[in-house]
């Protein structure tokens, strides 16, 4: 029996697209491995709701900016590429921002300036500069998608613990039963404040290093 039949995925594993995805999600996750894009990652993680919306917004921006920049990559003069990249990214961020304001007003109020700050998010610039400038459009798009999801996974993980431990809720619904509160359980106020986010992300990285050691 040949090995391809035994492991039907092995053919897919050799493609560039698979490599781009697994890199972004696992081997070099933008937040926990490359330390990019934490700027905005922590402020929106008090609630799971805002974290999910933020992840979607970032995934949208990074995948489409990769697509656009990659399709223009042969036309962009080398010297002014940063300005071109920023212009493309800023346009997409404005689109995302206006969309949120129109359809999810409450959440966009909570996210306040942090959607706008996607422009300066190092992940978006980093992918445009290192991947999209050197690879064909479709693959760049997938790379952007995977990076957005990789970013989102950490964001939602941190938000999950912060909301659960800090407020006893998930997505705004009470999950810690009243019985526990009556028995003397208390919400951990620290988790809702800034230091909680730093400490949780530190512990996250520790956990990952311990379990994923090669």
């Amino acid at each position: 029996m040949d090995t391809t039949a035994a492991r039907p995925w092995s053919g897919i594993r050799k493609t560039f697209t698979y490599k781009a995805i697994s890199d972004a999600l696992w081997q070099s996750n933008p937040i926990s491995k490359q330390i990019l894009g934490i700027c905005s990652a922590l402020a929106v993680t008090v609630q799971l709701n805002t974290a999910i919306v933020m992840s979607l917004a970032l995934t949208f921006v990074v995948s489409f900016s990769n697509l656009v920049i990659s399709s223009m990559r042969t036309l962009i003069p080398r010297n002014i590429r940063i300005i071109v990249e920023v212009a493309v990214i800023a346009t997409l961020v404005i689109l995302a921002d206006e969309f949120l304001k129109a359809f999810m007003y409450d959440i966009s109020k909570q996210l306040s300036v942090f959607v706008g700050l996607i422009i300066t998010n190092c992940i978006v610039m980093g992918r445009a500069e290192t991947y999209a400038m050197a690879n064909p459009p479709i693959r760049s798009f997938v790379d952007g998608l995977a990076n957005g999801i990789g970013y989102g996974s950490i964001l939602c993980g941190v938000a999950f613990f912060r909301e659960l431990l800090g407020a006893g809720k998930l997505m705004g619904y009470q999950v810690v039963p009243q019985v526990l509160y009556n028995a003397g359980y208390e919400n951990m106020g620290l988790m809702l404040l800034a230091p909680g986010a730093f400490i949780i992300i530190g512990l996250f990285v520790w956990l990952e290093h311990v379990f994923l050691k090669d």
Partner: protein
Amino acid sequence: MENLINIFLNSVFVGNILLAYFLGMCSYLAVSQNLKTSVGLGVAVIFVLGITTPANWLVYHFLLAPGALTWAGLPDVDLSFLKLVLFIALIAGMVQVVEMIIDRYSQGLYNALGVFLPLITVNCAVLGTSLFMVERSYTFPESVVYGLGSGLGWALAIVAMATVMQKLRYADVPEGLQGFGFRMIVTGLMAMAFMMFSGITL
């Protein structure tokens, strides 16, 4: 006056742009290994923020805000959706100017800051301060004070962090925690210390 001092103290300590709003983390984590570079970058950020925040105030209030174009005879135009693009363009231009000035007058500082100066453009703290300034509808003097205060707060945080890391260089950190994770936790403890200032008002 009291109001201005209040905004200043608040932006340096309680509402520290780095420790309370998490802005400017990327360059903070990259540079905070070395005390000398941290001081240099801190000064550069104070400088850039002190200029760009008032400059962006002027741009916003004379070009972009609803009704701002009255002086040009266009009272109904609202261009505020363009603020992201214009702010980032202005910041990029300003950083370029600062880089040229430092290159001309202080070669040592220029060499020390190296690649980090262009990075100030994508330092979220700079754009974030401008956006907060709009969101909180500060007046012009308030925006000057707020820009300087945020810069000082950021510089204070990065210098403090570099000092702490220097002290901890030979600390016995658990293996998996070394590097990024450890720095995040130290930052968390530092943020906790900064929150102690929150009772102070004038």
